[in-house]
Symmetry: C2
Amino acid sequence: MIGMNDDAVFRALADASRRQLLDRLYDQNGQTLGELCQGLEMTRQAVAKHLAILEEANLVSVQWQGREKLHFINPVPINHIAERWINKFERRQLSALSALKKALEGDSGQ
Amino acid sequence: MIGMNDDAVFRALADASRRQLLDRLYDQNGQTLGELCQGLEMTRQAVAKHLAILEEANLVSVQWQGREKLHFINPVPINHIAERWINKFERRQLSALSALKKALEGDSGQ
DNA sequence: TTGACATGCAACCAAATAGTTGCCTATAAG
DNA sequence: CTTATAGGCAACTATTTGGTTGCATGTCAA
């Protein structure tokens, strides 16, 4: 759990443009900066800044391919928050479910 | 789902002080402003502003009792986000669980 | 009624944020 | 080699944010 910074994740998720970028990456993973810019009412530099913030929060990882920078969504921090923060508030209703979930995860292997 | 504003919820959750206030309310629900201030390195007015933001995001509801304002945590918006945003990223692993969860919720009544 | 207590309201301030523009670097293609 | 393309870096700006101080209002208790 090294480099896991809840605060950075929450702050990254606080901006609608960044959530939109994550949505776009969810629809099609591995897009370049240029592709992610298309159709947005923002300069490329603004988008790049948002992506940098998502990268810093470890919500997006990148991979260079020649002069292109491919962006991949990373679900780990979101799951992490869901685990240790959000589930807290549904523990009462879902306590029974929690054990089952762990069991299923262990079963599916990843 | 009236008044349900994802953006306000995400922005409210982005601040560590506000998350701390939610944690405190989780530990003991129905605290007054004064109680919530104790031990925090902030003025009462600063805390009041944070609580107002949490109220506006519908994460906290209040109830006046004489001259005291009691604060109660409201888990609905957090569950909402978990449902339609966060679960998205764990759908693959948990798709089987989703139906069961709905079934359990329907079963328990609230 | 008077004083203490719980909270609200408003003005103000510093720092962070989201965005811009302009220019630089590196890779690919003709 | 030259040019177009993909992206990075830095300076600057306006707005939002988190916090402060000072004062006003409403409620309980003596």
